[in-house]
Amino acid sequence: MTDLRLRLMVVIACAALLFTVACGGTSHSNGGGGNPGSNVQAISVNLGPSGNYANGAFTSVTVCAPGTSTCQTIGGVLVDTGSSGLRILSSVLTTTLPQQKAADGNPIVECLPFVSGYTWGPVQTADVQIAGEKASSVPIQVLSDTAFTVPSACANNGQSLDTLSALGANGILGVGVFVQDCGGACVAKGPSNPALYYECPASGCVVVGEALSQQVVNPVAFFSTDNNGVIVELPAVSGPQASVSGSLIFGIGTQSNNGLGGAKVYTVDASANFVTTYNNQSYNQSFIDSGSNGLYFLTSGITGIPVCSDATSFYCPTTTKNLSAVNSGSNGGASGTVNFSVANADALFKNNPNASVFDQLAGPNSLSGFDWGLPFFYGRNVFTAIEGRNTPGGTGPYWAY
């Protein structure tokens, strides 16, 4: 396919999706929200608002000042089953939301570490509406390096992800297995606190113990119904594509459209990991994550697959490798073989500059195991069950597919 035809397809796809999924835009509405009662939200794998994303599933989210009809719908938000909590770039947020404050009146600001850096910015409260679902008055993070000075302990994580170019998205919709992003560790005071939440008087930010109810949360857990998990549904693809459409479905076994069917339940441990076995070695810090943009596993030294010379985050085999691994639940139970392919990432990007869908994009991770990113989701309905919530497949947390 020529570049011109591909580019035309991207333009058409973006135009068609603009009002529901968005290739970057935001819009205002009074009342916000989607279909009343609907638990299905359209998602799309496309180049995203930065125009260069590979394997990112994007959707739109409506945030409202709590209890009001002052709302804003923000597109280009990454669907991330590997984190919990809604985070929006301050540069795209035009609706004023109330700032969360500590008991002494100082604003609460969060530093959230990611693998490649950190997000920093104030915790604010919003009604979060997606499809026909609504989470009322939940804390979200507004990403900004300038609203409050970044403490050095936060900057020590690496690069700031508070810009469109660094984040590649207008925000992150974290719909993972955890209810809160941090949990009990951040409630505690003293050295066991991992220093995610700060209060910020004019004199500078200091770490605080943050109650669970005040932490940034997976909004799905606070929907009035369909609040025990999500399904990410994306079609099977073969080779690079400009974009594909799919669905983010809320609830597991709560409606006629979200039953487990034949999906196997894979339990996860307290750290949201399960076991992947490859070449007779078991790696118990493996995980499924729609927010990872490839299949990342082990190291070049173990797999024997060379990394790309110019992009060491990816594998560059001379010919496409067809491999398999076995996933199993963290405490036994289900297990199943996953077949996957690793193509030469340099060639994928060079030959398909306008594609956003790469089912054979892979790279090294660390010695700890497999990061089953978005390519794993193509052709599978992947269930993510929230911790402590009952489902027909048992109590979360688990993944099922």
Partner: protein, 171 residues
């Protein structure tokens, strides 16, 4: 050297007895650690140069002796474990970490933090996307992966790996 987040706590008046006790305990712990255990250093640093940084460590430290290097493992109160690999000449040639949150990367990478930062920013400029960070450059190899509440990674100076030691030994 390594610092885990213990400073900057806002203390309300009714808690005023605890910091004094905590500080006392920290000083006592530091004295014990300094006198009975080896120090903890960042990548590329001299082990002997950082005794003073022990004061900041509020975790437990364990050492394992291998034929051509020593592993110094610290378990921080946050649950994150950092291992530093020290050559027989007393230099830290590798660090590895694992736990619910990443360690202070500037502390454990020391003078290599700038190279880490630059590499992570450069990689974000090609095709966007969340993924593990992998650096393979002269003087620095690094792999960092994981997700919310579970992080793992390692960094090493390839030229300083002891003879016969594979990079896969660093974990």
């Amino acid at each position: 050297m390594i610092t885990f987040p213990v400073n900057g706590w806002r203390i309300s008046p009714r808690q005023s007895n605890y910091p004094t006790l905590t500080l006392l305990a920290a000083i006592l712990a530091a004295v014990v650690l300094t006198t009975t255990l080896p120090a903890f250093a960042g990548l590329g640093e001299e082990l002997s140069s950082v005794q003073a940084d022990q004061v900041h460590i509020q975790g437990t430290l364990r050492t394992t002796q291998k034929p051509s290097y020593t592993i110094h493992e610290i378990q921080a109160p946050t649950g994150t474990v950092v291992r530093e690999y020290v050559s027989t000449s007393g230099k830290v040639f590798a660090v590895a970490w694992q736990g619910p949150w990443p360690p202070d990367m500037r502390q454990i990478l020391a003078s290599y933090f700038g190279q880490y930062l630059q590499a992570s920013e450069t990689q974000a400029n090609s095709r966007a996307g969340r993924r593990p960070l992998v650096i393979e450059q002269p003087g620095l190899a690094l792999q960092s992966g994981g997700h919310m509440r579970s992080f793992a990674g390692r960094a090493y100076i390839p030229e300083m790996l002891p003879q016969g030691i594979s990079a896969e030994a660093i974990r």
